[in-house]
Each structure stands twice: as C-alpha cells, then as structure tokens.
Amino acid sequence: MNGAAKVDGGAAYVADVRAPGALHVAFVHSPVAHARVTGIDPSAARALPGVVDVLTHREIGEILLGRALRDYPVLAGDRVLCVGQRVVAVAAVDPATAQAAAAAVDVEYEPLPEVFGLDEAMRADVPLHPRYAEYPGAVADRPGSNAQGVWATEEGEVDPAFAAAERVFDHTFTTARNHSAPLEPHACLVSVTADRVDIWATHKEPFNLRRLVAEVGNVPVETVRVHLSPVGGDFGAKGFPFAEIACYLLARRTGKPVRHTMSYDDELTTTATRHPARVRLRTAVTDGVIRALHAETAIDGGAFGGVKAVPMVVIPTIHAPYGSYAVANRRESCVSYYSNNLPGGHVRAPGEFQALFASESQVDVIAHELGLDPLEFRHANAANARIRRIVAELRSTVEKWRAEPGGTRGIGVALTFRDTGPGLSTVRCVVEPGGVRVELSVVDQGSGSYSLFERLTAETLGVPRGFVRIQAVDVGADPVLQDSGTGASRVTAVAGMAVVESCRSALAELGGVPGDGDGFWPARRLAELGVQSVVAEGTAAAGWPAPPDVDVRSHAGIAVEVGVDEESGRIDVRRALLVADTGRVFNEVAHRGQLEGGFVYGLSQTLLEELVVEDGVVTTATLGDYRIASAADVPPLEIRVLEPAADDDGAVKSVGELVNIGVAPAVANAVFDAIGVRLLDLPLTAERVLAAIKEQSR
C-alpha cells in the first residue's frame, strides 16, 4: 500500500472491500460479568425475516482461541466470564436485521460470584478457570489457582546486594486500564467455497490467522488465503481474532460471504484493554549507585489470558524497569490473575509502559532523596555511553529552559529504550528489465514500512526509486513468503532486513555493481546474462531479548515542561524535547512520524485515558467519553535525532514503542519539580493530581 492511496481515498481497508450479497453478523454479548448460561433461545431471532443463521456453542462446540494460552472461547459455553463476552452470533441480510435478531435472542443467566479488581483476583480461592491445566499453553507452575500466568527471573546476587545496601527505596505505582482505540474498528469479511477460504481482516498477523482458520475448519492451510488490507491503526489491538472465527463458521454454514464490522462501542467494551498494573519496586542504592532491583508486577488479566502473546501469559515487564541503567542484580516477576473484567491485551508497549512509569519515576525519587540532580544521577548510573550521550543532550536543553522566565513550572525527564521484537520474514526480489519488484506478505499498519522497503531496495540495488515496486502478496497466494506479523516494533527491523537480504542475493546473481551507470542498470546485466529476470529470496530473523553484550536497542530521552493549576489539578504540558538514538534512519518522514506519534500516544495515555469499568461494565463506551488527545492538546515538540553512535551496529532499530513509554514518568517528574507532589498513579488526571496535592498538604 503506497501512501498516495491514503490521501486520495483509494486505500481499501477491510470495511471498504465490496461484497455484494454478503451476510452481516451481529453478536449477542453478555450483559453480566459472571454467570452460568442456563438457556439460549434463538427462536425469535430465527423467525425474523432476513435472518439466515444463528450460531451458539451448541452448534460449534468449544473452540478455544489464544495467542499463547488458549482459554478464550469463540462463543461462550455454559458460563460467561465478563460483560461483553460473545455468546451468540447472528447472520442476516443487513446489519440492522442482524442487530435486531441479536437483540431478540433470549439468553438466561444465573449469576455467579464476581471477581473485580486486582486484590480480589489475587485472593480469589475459587478459580475462575477451573479447567486451566487442560488449556493448550497453560503455564505449569502458577502462584495460585486463579493466576493466568507468571514470568519470574533472577540475575546476579540480589540478596547480598540488598543486605549490603546503604538505602533501599520501596515504592508502589499503579496504572489504569486504557484502550488501544485505533480509529478503525475491527472488521472482517470471509468467503468459503468448496475448495477455498478467502479472508479480509483487520489482523496484523495474517499468517497466524490463516493457520488458525485451517485448524478450526480442518482444511489444508494452502486453501486459506488472507488478503492484505491496510490496517487502520493497530497499537496492539489487531492481533486477536475476536470475530473472525465466528464469521468463518457462519460463512461455511451458509455458503455466503459473511462480514462483520464492529461498532465503536463494541470496540471499547468487548475487545481487550491495557492491563491495569501494580508495580512494586525495591531498589538498593549504595554510594549513589543502583546496586540491585527487586521488581514485582501484578496485573488484572481479566476474564481470559488468550489475548496476550507472551508465552508466560503476562505482559513484558521483565528487564524493563531500570533498563537504561547498569543494574546487574535483578529479581523480577510479573503475575497475571483472572478476574471478571474485560480481558487484558496488548496496547502499544504492553508492559513497558507500566514498568517505565514506575522505574523512571523512582529514579527521580531516589535522586531527590539523595540530594542529587536527577540528570546527574541518571548519568552516573547509565548503562553505557550511548545513554550518557542522551542525558547530556537533555541536560543542555533543560538548563536552557530553566534559564528562561516561565512562572511556576516544572521540568521532568525520563529515559527509555526499546528492544526489537522477535520475528521472521521471507521476501522475494524480482529483477526484470523494466524494474525491480519486491514481493512480500507484510501488513501495512501505518508505520511507513512500505516506503522504507522501497528505499532499502533502491539503495541496495543502486537503482532509482522510480524503478522499485513493493508488492503486497496475499497470505497464501505464495507459499514461500512468510512474516510473523507487525507486533513489537519489529517490522522495519526484520522485514526490512529480509528485503535487503533478497536484494543482496539478487545483486550477487546479477553480478553487477550497484549504481552502475544511469537509469536502471540491471536491465543491461540481464541482457548480458541472457535472462528475462533474476529472482532471489531473502530471510531475516530477530530473537528476543537481545544478546547480552551488544546494545542493539534504540534509546531515547524525554524532557517536558509543565505548569500545574493547583486549584484544579490540571497539568498543562507546555513543551517537550525528545532525544532519540535510533541508529541509522532509513525513512526520515516515517521515522519522525513514529517518534511524534509515540509522544502523542504516550501523552494521551498519561493525562487523559482511563477506560472506566464499574462492576464489570465499561462506562466510557464512546470516544465522546473515552477521550483521546486532539490536535489542540499537544504541546510544541522538539525532536533531536542523534547520529548513530560510534559503536552502532548499523541495524535497523525499532521506534514505534520507544517514545510513548517515557512520557508518563517525564510528566510526573515535572509535576514534582513544579509543586513537590509525587504522583504514583496513572493516568495523571486533574482530579487525581488535586487529590495528591491535598494529600500532601495534610
């Protein structure tokens, strides 16, 4: 998908794909948080003119979904575990009829005791998933029968370091539930014929979706094709098939194409959210040096663990706190628990956001307690020279800001870093007399990856960009092309390297010199070789976490200046600086966009966003109530992209989740600088800030 189609209305997102005669699907969602389903009577729905099929667990049996742990039923069986859970799917000739039919289905619920909130979830002695051990992907050793998963690690000599510590700092931070809120709601379209399945879906992992459909349908994977449509915003939301499988089953039963487009209130009330987290950090400091860390994170995993992709069924908080600092002795854990809330899922940096708010806030607390300048303290404890370089950049600007007149204000900083997620990608480079075509099956979710691929191809082959075409190949149309999806900031790094590899192989086969002569030099080489084309494949993979001795991460530092209205608690972020060390920049416009966009996203989730849930019911069910930042809510932002460091490995580094994770602590630290009040709980809403101000003055 090239950019031009996005500015002329031509880009066809899933909901834009025409499908005359397609049936429309509506779901019956549970209105209760925990209940036994004692009866489903779809007769009134079936009787409505235009209703073609009604699907319940009786028709499909138990089909469990999950990215790691498979505990999420396509449709509820004899129990519902959260408000919004899908219980019945109705297919009808138009959306209004489908909705009317869904409303006409009579479901009887017999209430069961509900578990809300982290404390209740941790205490619950009656497990919400008694059959947990049978689920594929179940974690063997869990702390209690209501735990979803656990990830615990230990490195170095933690206990001796704490025993010898001059000071131990112990703070607990909390973060609220918020939502990815991509503007494009989930949508899918499925067509099933005798020998083929075609799927269009707002799904960033089309290969996984394809395998899943083949498995559920018991059909050869080769017969399933997932068409690549641009995704209208992901931010973690588009990795789980909330509706796709029910639509597939309905398409197969009815023999008609079937589509579903979520309403926005379903988007906010029936998908998945960022995990509300409680992060306790105990940090040992001696002689101004951080000696050891004990980080414990507990999260409300909600009704199902299946939306999470981490194999341990938690969020990736491990190695995140104090990740920019040299802390060799680390004991870390993250535990998720079942509750009757919406399931937790992935939202832009699903665990790092919570972890970095805690640790970059605590770094500030420690510095102040030790009587040190927070930048000084960061500099002294930084993991390496790349990070010290960022601290120095921040310092020069912070000093400049402080020298300017500005009334009551505060300045805060935070450091962030980002690993590249694991993944594998195989692409193909086809060089022909008229130009070069790179074929790949990578989803465009808006990070500018396609224009990056174009540039990498042009550079590697030494040809003008006008001769390069990136061709999205539907998943399943070509058995060689592979991609593990666009999560974890890995697209540019992994797929980008695969593009380079394929071009290098093609180059070797051509045997020419890049940039040799004017225009499209490979045409001449093809003629000399007497072949019509040269075709070469390239594969790249990235593991995670990074190998210990090489800093393959991207790093950043954020400084913000705030004013605080002490009567209302409102934080006014007046300006911001972002210093980024992201190695080599391949596509300046897209790179800048990711950095700026990450800042906006982080600021929005820092100040505004809380998906409010009362007794399991989301009360912020529209974008009128769940507010996200608008153009008028973002401050001037200066971006300083550093030249690659001397020891930079030259690899493409991730930027998509580098920035949003650092905004919250920078703002909280700035508020402390302004009024001496430490904020431990996100989001930093005006009411919460005012409460903290009053608490302090008490």
Partner: protein
C-alpha cells in the same frame, strides 16, 4: 469475489428523493429518511474514502464537506443534503490547491495508518476553499482541526502540511 461497486438498487423502503452534487457530479437518489450520508456515499455511490469511526461525531473519520462545511457524515441524514454540494476526499484532486494539499500531507508525514486521513484532508480543504487559511494562525488551525482525531498522532505532520498550504495560499 466481485469487488466492483454494486449497481444502485432501490429498496422498497427507500422513499426520499435527494438531488445532490457529489464531487461535481449531479446525483439523484432515493433514500430512506433515516439513512445517513456516510452509508449512502459508501454503499450507494461506492465512495469509501470517508470512514466509519466513532459514530458519535467525535473522531472525524467520516468528514465530508457539505456546501463547504465540514460535516459528520455518520450523523447527518442523507435527506438533509438535498440540493447541496458534497465534496469527499475522492474529489479533492480535481482542485489544484487541494491536490497540492494532498502532496503536502505525503511530504510532511500528515498520516500514518491513513484511516483518519480523508477526514483530516477534507477539514483542511475547507480552510482553503473558504479562503480563510491565509489569515489563520497556527493556533487557529489547531482549533479548526481539533475535531479530527488521529490515533497515530500525526498532528505535527498535519499541522506542517497545512502550514505549507497556508504559505502557498499567502504567496
């Protein structure tokens, strides 16, 4: 699966005649009184540039211009635009200065995922078409654009693109 726009079919319920000019083309439609402009543009006219987003008039992904005014086509009844001129993102390129705005969005990073982009462009186009843009401050522009949400956070790029258009309109 056929992907061509289906020929317009008059359903028996459709009873309200609407004569409207869409992107310069006169159209005569019969719509249900409760039909929204967004649905008619997308389903009847095959113009899918305007997107369905929040459905409550907040996000702006469905923005089109009706007689020059930015309009939430997800809220507006199709029958309300009888006699009006509608401009959608698909019609921008016919105006040279709006074509240039599209280029500015490309050059300045005025979008990422692209889902809100039609609405952003159309609202920005209203500033150009009304002749106001040259007089607007950066803050004025933000005030006029704040109803078009961009979850990718391309606000800075959008602002740069509109500022570029402002320079062009002033010069």
């Amino acid at each position: 699966m056929p992907e061509e726009p289906a020929p317009h079919q008059e359903s028996p319920a459709a009873g309200c005649p609407v004569a409207v000019t869409v992107n310069g083309k006169p159209r005569s439609l019969l719509v249900d009184g409760a039909a929204r402009l967004l649905g008619v543009l997308r389903d009847e006219l095959g113009l899918t540039g305007a997107k369905a987003g929040c459905a409550v008039g907040v996000c702006g992904a469905c923005t089109v211009l009706v007689d020059g005014a930015p309009t939430s086509s997800c809220l507006t009844f199709a029958a309300q635009v009888d006699g009006a001129e509608v401009l959608t993102v698909e019609g921008l390129a016919a105006h040279p200065e709006l074509r240039a705005l599209q280029e500015d969005f490309l050059a300045e990073g005025g979008f990422q995922c692209g889902y809100c982009t039609s609405g952003q462009l159309v609202t920005a186009a209203s500033l150009i078409l009304s002749g106001e843009l040259a007089e607007l401050s950066d803050e004025d522009i933000r005030h006029r654009m704040l109803g078009n949400l961009c979850r990718c956070g391309a606000y800075y790029g959008i602002q740069r693109a509109i500022a570029k258009a402002r320079e062009a309109s002033a010069g």
